[in-house]
């Protein structure tokens, strides 16, 4: 029996168990209308039985999925001739793979001989038996669990509490998935970064001024000593982020002020969704907008004004990134401004303040922590942004503060280091993990500050 069919059957059994459990609870107290004599609502007794049908069986299924392949492989290997069993671990592994592929009808890397064919047949045999055994066991456990639970139903059974207890564990499991994933990502990045730092000293990475991540494949290659100073990358990131914030903060803030205080309901009704559309444009679209429209325009404008502008300039990438971030800044600032209590506004107006005095002297100062928090979140978004800079900022790791030159950012370098065929033990590839770790630390730091500021501000008026 396939696992999906098995799960399907368990589901059907659970539905049946629900009805049996509910009916039994009701019949124990004398049918519908006497539900008050039960500790919990009748449905909870149904869920109680259904849980006992499904959970133990699913547990068994999970265990089976984890253990079964190893057991089968061990059995198949033990059935092989002595000479095969004496093979080194690596070759044995290859052999087992071939047996498995042969059994599944996939491509096999060696000539198929009798031994292999026998082993594959054995493999098939064991797998079929395992599936049958699993089906019998799982359905048996489900039936047994259901029956025991069904017999335990009693008007005093605290079914609701039991069910809620199980539900609580489900919720805990669901929320820990996200947390564990984060921890896993951080750890994997951390360990790869540590491997990188075994090849390249931490100090050189953090403070080196030269980025040229080429390592030699052969010892006699020229110009491939590799240098991994990350400063130009972080400088480039900061330059582009700064340009983006110069665009996004004033525009976003003024948009928020206009929408929150000055616009009519009709304008707000149109402008807000439009801003949200701006936030919904995929960054890759912004990217080619930056590369194909803004960058040439910046170049022409710069040349007309007498500057020498690279065709991929920090300015173009920063401008477009700024536009991308405007909705983020404006919507967070809008929230912060709207969270200032109406009483504050009324108080200022009641003292004879004009609208602009109310805004600049009372509402903005009151909303400032929230706005600052929003801006910090926007900064961390800008630092982590990849697609726009990949397409518009270039790859040249120039250490410069000149926005007309091409620069490169941390994210761009991570992309270039990991695109294409890579060997996972060279400093070049591992550098991406070190960069990722640094980036993660920086944005985490900004997010913590930003969220902290926002939270502090929320508490002020609660």
């Amino acid at each position: 029996m396939q696992n999906t069919t098995l799960v399907l059957r368990l589901g059907l059994m659970a539905i049946a168990a629900f009805y049996f459990g509910r009916e039994r609870s009701l019949s124990l107290v004398g049918g519908h209308g006497h539900g008050m004599a039960l500790h919990s609502l009748p449905g909870y007794y149904g869920y109680f039985v259904a849980i006992w049908v499904v959970l133990p069986a699913l547990g068994l299924l999970l265990l089976w999925v984890l253990v079964e392949p190893r057991v089968i492989v061990a059995l198949v290997v033990s059935g092989l001739p002595e000479s095969y069993q004496a093979l080194p671990a690596g070759e044995l592994n290859l052999l087992v793979n071939n047996i498995r592929n042969l059994a599944a009808g996939d491509v096999v890397s060696v000539d198929v001989d009798a031994v292999l064919r026998d082993a594959a047949a054995q493999f098939d045999n064991y797998a079929a038996k395992s599936r049958q055994l699993l089906a019998v066991l799982a359905l048996g456990i489900a039936g047994l669990g259901g029956t025991i639970a069904w017999r335990r139903i009693h008007p005093d059974l605290r079914a609701r509490n039991r069910v809620e207890h199980v539900v609580r564990w489900f919720l805990i499991a669901a929320s820990s998935i996200a947390i564990l994933t984060t921890v896993g990502i951080v750890l994997s990045v951390l360990f790869e970064a540590l491997r990188f730092f075994q090849k390249v000293p931490v100090m050189e990475f953090l403070f080196g001024l030269n980025w040229s991540p080429q390592t030699a494949i052969r010892a006699d290659q020229v110009g491939s000593s590799g240098s991994f100073g990350a400063v130009p990358l972080f400088a480039g990131t900061m330059l582009i982020t700064a340009i983006a914030m110069v665009v996004a903060v004033p525009v976003g803030l003024m948009t928020a002020i206009y929408l929150a205080e000055y616009s009519s309901a009709r304008v707000r009704g149109i402008a807000k969704p439009l801003l949200e559309i701006l936030a919904g444009i995929p960054t890759v679209v912004y990217g080619f907008f930056a590369a194909l429209t803004v960058a040439p325009w910046v170049r022409r404008a710069g040349e007309a004004a007498g500057f020498e502008v690279a065709s991929e300039s920090a300015l173009a990438a920063g401008l477009v990134m700024g536009i991308m971030i405007i909705p983020l800044v404006s919507s967070l600032s809008d929230d912060a401004i709207n969270a200032v209590p109406r009483a504050m506004r009324d108080g200022a107006l009641g003292l004879g303040s004009t609208r602009s005095e109310t805004m600049t002297k009372v509402i903005l100062p009151a909303a400032l922590p929230g706005i600052v928090g929003g801006i910090l979140l926007a900064v961390s978004r800008a630092i982590g942004e990849t697609m726009i800079v990949v397409m518009a900022a270039g790859l040249a790791a120039n250490l410069t503060a000149n926005p007309f030159e091409a620069v490169t950012t941390v994210t761009v370098q991570i992309v270039t280091l990991l695109v294409g065929d890579q060997e996972f033990d060279s400093a070049k590839t591992l550098a991406a993990f070190a960069l990722g770790l640094m980036l993660f630390v920086v944005t985490l730091f900004l997010n913590v500050i930003g969220l902290g500021v926002v939270r502090k501000y929320r508490e002020q008026y609660d």
């Binding site: 009519s264 009483a343 506004r345 009324d346 003292l351 004879g352 002297k361 100062p365």
Partner: protein, 300 residues
């Protein structure tokens, strides 16, 4: 002051809603002289001896909702007038007409005429901002700005340019806090945030902030509803002192408070001004059945 509200002592049996008309009818037979109909006509005396703000036929619509209808009322110089009535009766709406705070609500539409010292405050040339400097307002919930105590009080004088230099500003702040009866509690902590004060202190800070602008009329929208009795007593004492210089209009849900602080009382019901009269008259011998029901606790 409970002696002016003798009816208060003997609360009538609480009628349930279905019985209410029957009770009304019996009372009607007993006291035929009282007006019982809610007609839109105001009984009592809307006139003040020394009128300063005059409202004539004021109507307010919030969208389709006719919030107050044909309200005419005079507010005298140096008098405290209390607006009472059940929730949603339009008393706060009327209060907010007097300094055009209703302008800040998009759907609100005000018609009729309100004059301040003889001049229509809804005329085209009237700047609502300048009006609000003359007609100050204290709100239901204390709403100090998230600034220091000093800056809270100095806010109004600063935006209106009332002080020529720092010394004069200090003086205004000090005097206002003194008149609001707060100076002894805060004089050593003027740079602490206004929100660090207790509720009653915050409300007195808001009053100090309002009188720092030197208004002619002070509107108070249930200024004590968020305060405990002790803080309330302080604010009421303060009103007694302030009415020597200002006209004070106070909205309150507390009959006792209206009796204690006001000279005249206006009773609103369902957007209509039902009765206006001297405070003791309202509380001892109301002319309208609804007023009587309200002050004796039969409705509201």
């Amino acid at each position: 002051m409970t002696e002016v509200t003798p009816d208060k002592q003997v609360p009538p049996p609480a009628p349930n809603r279905r019985d209410a008309p029957a009770v009304e009818n019996t009372v009607l037979r007993e006291m035929p002289k009282r007006k019982t109909v809610l007609s839109g006509e105001t009984v009592g005396n809307i006139h003040s001896e020394n009128p300063f703000m005059v409202a004539e036929n004021v109507n307010v619509h919030y969208g389709d909702n006719h919030a107050i209808q044909n309200v005419s009322l005079e507010i005298g110089k140096k008098e405290v007038i209390a607006l009472i009535g059940p929730s949603g009766c339009g008393k706060s709406t009327f209060l907010r007409c007097l300094n055009r705070m209703n302008d800040t609500i998009d759907t609100a539409r005000v018609t009729g005429k309100i004059t301040l010292d003889g001049k229509d405050i809804y005329r085209k040339e009237q700047d609502p901002v300048a009006l609000r400097a003359r007609v100050g307002m204290v709100f239901q919930k204390p709403n100090p700005f998230p600034k220091s105590i000093y800056d809270n009080v100095a806010y109004g004088p600063r935006i209106h340019g009332l002080a020529a230099d720092r010394a004069e500003l200090d003086n205004i702040v000090y005097t206002s806090l003194e008149r609001a009866g707060l100076i002894n509690e805060v004089k050593d902590r003027l740079d602490e945030p206004g929100t660090s004060l207790s509720g009653g202190q915050q409300q007195r800070l808001c009053i100090a902030r309002t009188i720092a602008v030197n208004p002619e009329v002070i509107l108070m929208d249930e200024p004590c509803s968020a305060l405990d009795p002790i803080a309330t007593a302080r604010i009421e004492d303060l009103m007694d002192e302030l009415c020597e210089d200002y006209a004070i209009v106070i909205v309150t849900h507390s009959m006792q408070q209206a009796a204690r602080v006001s000279r005249r009382v206006a009773y609103f019901h369902l957007g209509l001004l039902v009765e206006v009269d001297k405070t003791d008259k309202i509380f001892t011998n109301p002319q309208h059945k609804l007023t009587e029901d309200y002050i004796t606790g039969r409705i509201g």
